[in-house]
């Protein structure tokens, strides 16, 4: 499903074959990159009682001043449709796409994971990092910082394993997502 500013047909998208169950949805929002635009989106979610599980934002087309915001939220289809229309109503929003409804999506997140320790713990950390294709981006005699890219659940698993290997801290980027195939949002 996609909402293009000014073109929306609303409820046609409430297709009967979409199961009416609560699940997480990845929304991709193309916006003018202007001050306050993120506040408008975030304020809309808090003001209307929608939840945000992950949010990332970055400029994607510099000359056109466009940013892409990727939001993960949960809800039943009617609620998600309402969320999309509420976002679509904001003046700086060009387009809202529900990647989850569009079909298969590619979702990636990057995390930096710091562990500290000596001896066996340290060896375990290194072995697991190799198994997850994490890169070492910093090392001292008593610590590593790993960089891992993967789906959010890959990263969840990696981080939970690292808790037994001297985990110190984690920084995650939040989600970047696009649909498969040749069509863009």
């Amino acid at each position: 499903m996609m909402i293009v500013a000014g073109q929306s047909q609303s409820a046609y998208f409430l297709e009967e074959d979409i199961p009416n169950t609560e699940r997480s949805h990845t929304l991709s929002v193309l916006v003018d990159n202007e001050p306050g635009v993120l506040a408008r989106i975030v304020g809309l979610f808090s003001g209307r009682g929608y939840n945000i599980e992950s949010l990332t934002v970055s400029e994607v087309e510099h000359e056109k001043h466009l940013s892409r915001i990727t939001i993960v939220t949960t809800g039943k289809p009617p609620v998600v449709t309402q969320i999309m229309h509420q976002i679509g109503r904001l003046i700086p929003v060009h387009r809202v796409t529900n990647l989850t409804w569009l079909g298969e999506t590619i979702e990636r997140e990057l995390a930096l994971v710091k562990v500290a320790g000596k001896g066996e713990i340290r060896d375990d950390a290194l072995r697991l990092a190799q198994a997850f294709n994490a890169r070492i981006v910093d090392a001292t005699l008593e610590s590593y910082v790993f960089e891992i890219t993967g789906t959010p659940s890959d990263i969840d698993r990696f981080v939970s394993l690292m808790t037994n290997c001297g985990l110190v801290e984690v920084a995650r980027t939040g989600l970047a997502a696009v649909g498969r195939g040749k069509i863009g949002m």
Binding site: Q9, G43, T81, Q82
Partner: protein
């Protein structure tokens, strides 16, 4: 054509280029350059209010009574925060409004400077859009874009926050009214042709149809009102409306069922409950309308025409959504209907009208008449009767009097009722009357008020006196916050916690203190003469109409109940009132 000018000059020039002739405002440090420009010109009439909230509601009243955009101008900090209520009000009621606020100079933003407030932050959720002007170069386009956004699509308030240094800077002004827009915002007006065809087919096959219309018809303009009336004639369908849509179809029209919803008529609500095809035209299935959602019109197919996609399926799932402007969609529906010149089920329609007649026979608006005290319903009936033949505009405050105005004053034309429906802002009516009166200097403008609400923006009486705006404030004085008292009776064992106003001002003296005229009336048989006197006075008037203190507003669908569980006035005992709302309903408003 471009010209060099200061930011402050640009503000005035853009207003002129947008066809604005009146603005409502209040000065202060950060808008002084704009006020200096106002001083040096005579194309824009500035109305000096007494409180910024008054400026906002006056702009709303001006806008709703003319169909044009209302403009307000206030200073930074407290000026802007005082504007928050009118902005929220205009947002919920879809009123086109442009509000210009001053801001501290750009280099001081963020320093807790004198009278600094994060105005765009504070007003973001209560405007359709807002702008902080960062450069003089962007100012002309922002000014014109604000008007486009406020007036197109679903109308609403737009705020422009202009730092003082930018008001002083010089730049190039161009009238970009009809130039390429600043943002990509471009709402769609035409409805989907297939959806319209499907809707017309559904309407043709209907056995028990009803038109449920709302504020969107009035937003769409005069033309839409004419088309709605044509559609009613063409189809013969019964029609009801929300509070916000009253007057789009005349209350004196044969197909009129009265207002629907919590305090709507028996016939309107039961027609909604029992219909098989519901055509919602520019209304938003508000909770005052639907009552208990899962019992709302359970057996109907629903068509919904609305320009805002987010209004569709927000509260009630509909079968045929049509995103578009009421005027454009109705025109297409009418064209199609005429093209098909259909055979509708005359026998079924006749049965349906018979059923409606039996509901009407309940006379749900009946109330106990009295010779000793003025019943509030009677006061409105007389006010309506005595003002017929006048060119009348009505505003209201919020409370029982508002609902009695909706029930007992017949509105035959659109843009004649200005009321705070969505936000329910007490204090709206008086300044809104001022705004309407400024727009229509020779018309009769009456604020139907409550004793409590009237005191919330009473200071604008001073503005009315200053500008010879002969507004009439018709107070149904029941000494109570009647609507609150009624709910306390319904929900809280009649424990009247803080809903009785013990120290009431002398409204007659109050009017005189402001330089207006005060009239008091306490007896039903003196009412007509007193109203006649009020109408004849060419000055602002406070009419202190002493009414029965404990009257309740019926019919009423208690919160959390269905349309067919309505309480009717004369028949309910105090005990039934006390037990009408269940535990689940109590948490609702």
């Amino acid at each position: 054509m471009t010209r060099q000018m200061t930011g402050a000059e640009m503000v005035i020039q853009a207003l002129i280029d947008q066809g604005v002739d009146t603005i409502f405002g209040y000065p202060g440090g950060s808008v002084l350059p704009i006020y200096d420009e106002i001083f040096q010109q005579d194309k824009i009439n500035h109305i000096l209010v007494r409180h910024e909230q008054g400026a906002g509601h006056a702009a709303e009243g001006y806008a709703r009574s003319t169909g044009k955009v209302g403009v307000a101008l206030v200073t930074s900090g407290p000026g802007a925060t005082n504007m928050v209520t009118p902005l929220a009000d205009a947002l919920l009621d879809s009123i086109p409004m442009v509000c210009i606020t001053g801001q501290v100079p750009t280099h001081l933003i963020g320093t807790d400077a004198f009278q600094e407030a994060d105005t765009v932050g504070i007003t973001r959720p209560c405007t359709k859009h807002n702008f902080l002007v960062r450069t003089i170069e962007s100012l002309p386009r922002i000014l014109h874009e604000a008007f486009r956004i406020a007036t197109t699509g679903r109308p609403g308030p737009v705020l422009i926050d202009i730092p003082k240094n930018i008001q002083f800077q010089t730049g190039t002004y161009e009238n970009c009214k009809d130039k390429a827009p600043l943002t990509q915002y471009n709402p769609r007006r035409e409805g989907d042709a297939d959806a319209i065809r499907a809707a017309v087919n559904l309407m043709i096959a209907a056995k028990k149809p009803v038109l449920y219309t709302g504020g969107g018809v009035i937003n769409s303009g005069r033309h839409a009102t004419e088309l709605l009336r044509d559609l009613v004639k063409l189809t013969g369908f019964p029609i009801t409306s929300t509070l916000m849509g009253l007057g789009a179809y005349p209350a004196s029209g044969p197909n009129w069922l009265g207002m629907l919803g919590m305090h709507g008529t028996y016939e309107a609500n039961l027609a909604m409950h029992d219909c098989d095809v519901m055509v919602c035209v520019g209304a938003r299935f508000d909770d005052r309308i639907t009552g208990r959602i899962d019992a709302f019109s359970p057996n109907s197919k629903k068509i919904h025409i609305d320009i805002d996609p987010s209004s569709i399926n927000k509260n009630v799932r509909v079968d045929i959504p049509i995103v578009g402007d009421v005027g454009s969609v109705l025109a297409e529906m009418i064209r199609l209907w005429k093209e098909l010149s259909p055979q509708t089920d005359a026998a079924a329609h006749k049965n349906w009208w018979n059923q409606i007649a039996s509901w009407r026979a309940k006379k749900c608006l009946r109330y106990k008449k009295s010779h000793d005290v003025i019943m509030p319903q009677y006061a409105i009936e007389r006010l309506y009767a005595m003002t017929r033949g006048h060119d009348t505009y009505i505003t209201t405050e919020v409370g029982q009097h508002q609902m009695w105005a909706a029930q007992f004053f017949g509105f035959d034309e659109p843009n004649r009722l200005m009321t705070s429906g969505g936000l329910g802002t007490m204090g709206y009516g008086l300044p809104a009357a001022l705004g309407a009166q400024i727009a229509h200097p020779n018309s009769l403008v009456i604020d139907i008020a409550g004793d409590a609400s009237a005191q919330m923006c009473i200071q604008e009486l001073s503005t009315a006196v200053q500008y010879d705006a002969p507004i009439k404030i018709f107070i149904l004085n029941n000494q109570y916050m009647g609507m609150v008292r009624q709910w306390q009776q319904l929900l809280h064992g009649n424990r009247l916690s803080h809903s009785y106003v013990e120290a009431m001002p002398d409204f007659v003296k109050l009017a005189e203190a402001y330089g207006g005229v005060g009239i008091r009336c306490e007896k039903p048989d003196e009412l007509d003469d007193a109203i006649t006197e009020m109408i004849s006075v060419k000055k602002p008037v406070i009419f202190d109409c002493r009414v029965a203190n404990l009257a309740n507003c019926f019919p009423m669908i208690p919160s959390g109940k269905a349309h067919n569980e309505m309480l009717l006035g004369e028949d309910v005992s105090d005990e039934e009132i006390g037990n009408a709302i269940g535990a689940a309903g109590k948490v609702l408003v």
